[in-house]
């Protein structure tokens, strides 16, 4: 079963993501960037869900650290953000994310679809 790292400081959001994903994927959860990076280097996940608005080291800084790391650099990473508006897609892609999902997570199919899309792409790249 594919493993997803969820990096999100808000416990409500983590709970909701768990409820949506727990029957489909193995999950490992973090509430801060530095710990997530350290743990992921030891045991890289198949995909990362990354909150933009983390306290301290925010999501874009975490992503920057991932992309410059030889172990973590190629892991598909989806931004979880409350800030996305129309036309933001290009900005998130330019920042290095593979996709983004807006919060609140009202429609679970959006998150599931985004993850399946990225994992499917990764599978095709590896083939």
């Amino acid at each position: 079963m594919k493993r997803i790292a969820v990096i999100e400081d808000n416990p409500d959001n983590r709970l909701l993501v768990e409820a949506i994903l727990e029957d489909h994927y193995e999950l490992v959860e973090f509430d801060n960037g530095p710990e997530a990076l350290a743990q992921m280097r030891n045991d890289p996940p198949d995909l990362v869900l990354l909150d933009i608005s983390l306290p301290g080291m925010d999501g874009t800084e975490v992503l920057r650290a991932m992309r410059s790391d030889p172990i973590l650099g190629a892991i598909p990473t989806i931004a979880l953000t409350a800030h996305a508006m129309a036309g933001d897609r290009d900005r998130f892609l330019a920042a290095g994310f593979d996709d983004y999902v807006t919060k609140p997570l009202v429609d679970e199919e959006v998150l599931l679809g985004a993850i399946a899309n990225q994992l499917g792409r990764e599978q095709r790249r590896s083939a």
Binding site: M1, D9, N10, P11, D12, N13, R14, L15, L16, E18, A19, I20, E22, D23, Y25, E26, L27, V28, E29, F30, D31, E35, A36, Q39, I52, S53, P55, G56, D58, G59, T60, E61, A79, T81, A82, H83, M85, D88, R91, F92, A95, K103, P104, L105, V106, E108
Partner: protein, 164 residues
């Protein structure tokens, strides 16, 4: 013959989730650390009366997703955390502390939105937007409105949990 594994997968927590009570002590965000956060227009919409106090279809969806356990946990987290965050917002507004207003409003917005408390969500959005650009005028009124809105939506959420 293979046997389907019906056990739910384990969720490995790296550490205990940060409790809502602990969040006000989190380090404040450094301004401008994320280029993906848009600079909002400080001339915001009027108080959003058109937003629903509670979108009950959101709670219904949560029931379908995770049943009583999920709905109960989310409501519990919301009710445990919201008063502290609202108090922090009110104090920060009085002190002219924009970063704290922004951080607390952002976190509360997320919790409110997850449960369909859309008027609270909209009020938090306005507070966050204003605070992010240092525009704290009228935030006192918004913060008090947020407080009233929480008092209005909280019993309705409990009613949803009881299946009323």
């Amino acid at each position: 013959m293979s046997v389907m594994n019906t056990e739910p997968p384990k969720i490995f927590m790296s550490r205990h989730p940060v409790s809502p009570e602990a969040m006000p002590e989190a380090r404040p965000r450094r301004a401008g650390t994320s280029e993906l956060r848009p600079v909002p227009d400080p001339v915001s919409l009027p108080v959003p009366d058109e937003y629903a106090c509670l979108r009950e279809e959101v709670v219904a969806k949560l029931w379908r997703l995770g049943g009583e356990k999920l709905v109960g946990q989310l409501i519990e987290l919301f009710e445990a955390g919201a008063p502290g965050r609202i108090a922090a917002i009110l104090s920060a507004v009085a002190a002219g502390d924009g970063p704290t207003v922004e951080r607390e409003a952002h976190a509360l917005k997320s919790s409110a939105g997850n449960l369909g408390a859309m008027r609270m969500w909209a009020l938090c959005q306005q507070l966050e937007s204003r605070a992010s650009v240092g525009e704290l005028s009228r935030t006192a009124a918004l913060a008090h409105q947020l407080e009233s809105e929480f008092e209005r939506v909280s019993p309705r959420l409990r009613g949803c949990f009881k299946g009323d």
